[in-house]
Symmetry: D3
Subunit: 144 residues, 6 copies
């Protein structure tokens, strides 16, 4: 097995806010991230796939093909957007990096063939990030 | 003269949009940056001052003092905010990096003493940035 | 499981020196790092925890809480210090990155709740680093 | 176990090209990377070894020794070279990062003692890279 | 005046070699960079223009337009190419970063309008780079 | 004129402390940087020279020669050292980045030929740095 990672970037707004809680409760949990008009980041997204290289090509997967899938399924949908309002497959989700990573996983998984999705790493800023390996967990959907 | 630079970061949303133009005209000028719900960035702000070091300290300026001024006058006002709606001294300004740099210059200038403000460098993303040295230019204010 | 990493930085001096060996033996092992008056680094410390996101918040752990624990238990004690002389919980330890990582693990472990400590990554310079997952190993304590 | 990583860099040319295929087939697979006169990269190579620190030194392995092995076995042979023509142990191999990583693994493994080779990470550019853990796979050798 | 910089990257091979000198003389001047089969780099190219922001847009120049000019005039011609053989406007030039920067300046200058070309910065590696402001100097052309 | 920059790194300890002041006065000026046992940094040093490229070589200056001068005159003397005690040409100087840059300038200037020293940039950490262009200023020498 060889692991291949493709890094992409997108710029988006989000607001961390649970609509079933009060503004004060949201501020206690999310701090400045609960600001009503949102705030934004340059997100860094790393998608890692694994597989065995083809002897004829020496490639685990054609990097151009992987790049196209990531662009089409994720980047074009979230770049220069507000993650709470503008993205169909994120609608109603609290856009923490944890939840975003899991939703990105679900978006990519059915599009990949010839290799296995291994990890999604998502950075909001240079000083913290999450890594997700596909384990299922509960993600709540709220009415906007 | 020695030049001292302090780098800071903030995360904010913005929308590039001239309210006297149509949506189509705005899209032609600003592209995805005119998205109605905004989008966001991790901004990197570099403030450069110049001066002669004090022989007793070997410092051009106390870096902690410079950091406090930048934090108080800029970072606390723009971090985790929407630059079009949440920041008093940016109200009505189209928040391009050019305009932001000039407004940040005006905010910092009266607070500095014992050194001269030399440059403001502002990055929206890692692949483009502007540098501003204090030359006056016209900045329009629009009704929101 | 989701893995969340928080990166911090601190600046410190250290000297690599085993007091039971001669100066020549120390130089053979540690090279310039055995310099009597010490030398220093900007250390980069990455702490990774793992856990399942809470459905109500979408957070594995409140990042602000994790940051506070790392600041209080490690950064405030080692930043702008000499690691051989100024830090109680490192006293008598040869401050290699290997030993530092294991001592940092012991300092953090009892303070974390609601998630598991997974990894400590420690960089002395940008060109080499260690990763530690909590395996016990012998750390000698020497008289200063 | 502690994992120690040493990062090195080298600058080299390569051409991705399978001589049993036509130029068109090569272009379909490798795109611009099949350019006849080659192209080049600053490669970043990260070698990770694992082991238990020696109590007397606090070191998993002497980093200077590891650096010397990497320099001698890999960097001196590939730096400022054309990977298709100038490097004996790569001769006939299609120099994808996948194949390069596996060949580097074979070059390093017999030279390491007192620790285990764990991972080779190889970057051609900052936006994609592979990680290899020593699993065997078929690498074809072609006549030049 | 505001200065706007756009950073791009390209991957290319080159060989530093003066055909009027012997191989030994070339090695004395260019070292490993004179390797017959060439070697390569990920080049980082920063183009800085200056101008006064338009009050109606808040832009010195439309960054998308600047990006298109750089892509068309430079990146598409040099990316994944051998700079000694594959690029018409570099033919016969010794491809040092100094000469490349001056040739890139000549390629961009006639295409820019509404702002002035100010600087070209060119990195071969992360540890050295040149900056060029348009001063004329003699560039020799050699037969290949 | 073309400007060529060479970046180097060194790791050193220092203590910011004026021996004619009390410990409290030193703490007021230098904060944690006045810690008695010192602290340390990975310094990044950028040396910029300017000149006209030689038509026969396409080089402003042979980068290997520049690198050797910087290594010999500065890096070998300060790397893995305590800047207050271990470096002859810094003896008695308060080792702020301002004073260090001016002393490095004096060390390099007489060794360069065929080009002009233009700038020294010195980083203690990634978030602040100084740039020095050779203007004379008073640097006090104190008894240790």
């Amino acid at each position: 097995m060889i692991y291949l990672t493709k890094k992409s970037e997108f710029s988006a707004s989000h607001r961390l806010f649970n609509p079933t809680l009060t503004d004060d409760e949201n501020f206690n949990i999310y701090g400045l991230c609960s600001n009503k008009n949102g705030h934004g980041h340059n997100y860094s997204l790393e998608v890692t796939v694994k597989g065995e290289p083809e002897p004829e090509t020496g490639f685990v997967i054609d990097l151009k093909k992987l790049k196209t899938i990531i662009e089409t399924e994720i980047i074009e949908k979230v770049d220069h957007k507000h993650l709470n309002y503008d993205v169909d497959f994120l609608r109603g989700i609290i856009p923490t990096v944890e939840n975003l990573a899991a939703m990105f996983w679900k978006a990519l998984l059915p599009k990949l063939s010839g290799c296995q999705l291994h990890k999604i790493k998502l950075n909001e800023t240079g000083s913290s990030w999450i890594e997700y390996f596909g384990d299922e967990f509960e993600i709540k959907k709220y009415e906007l």
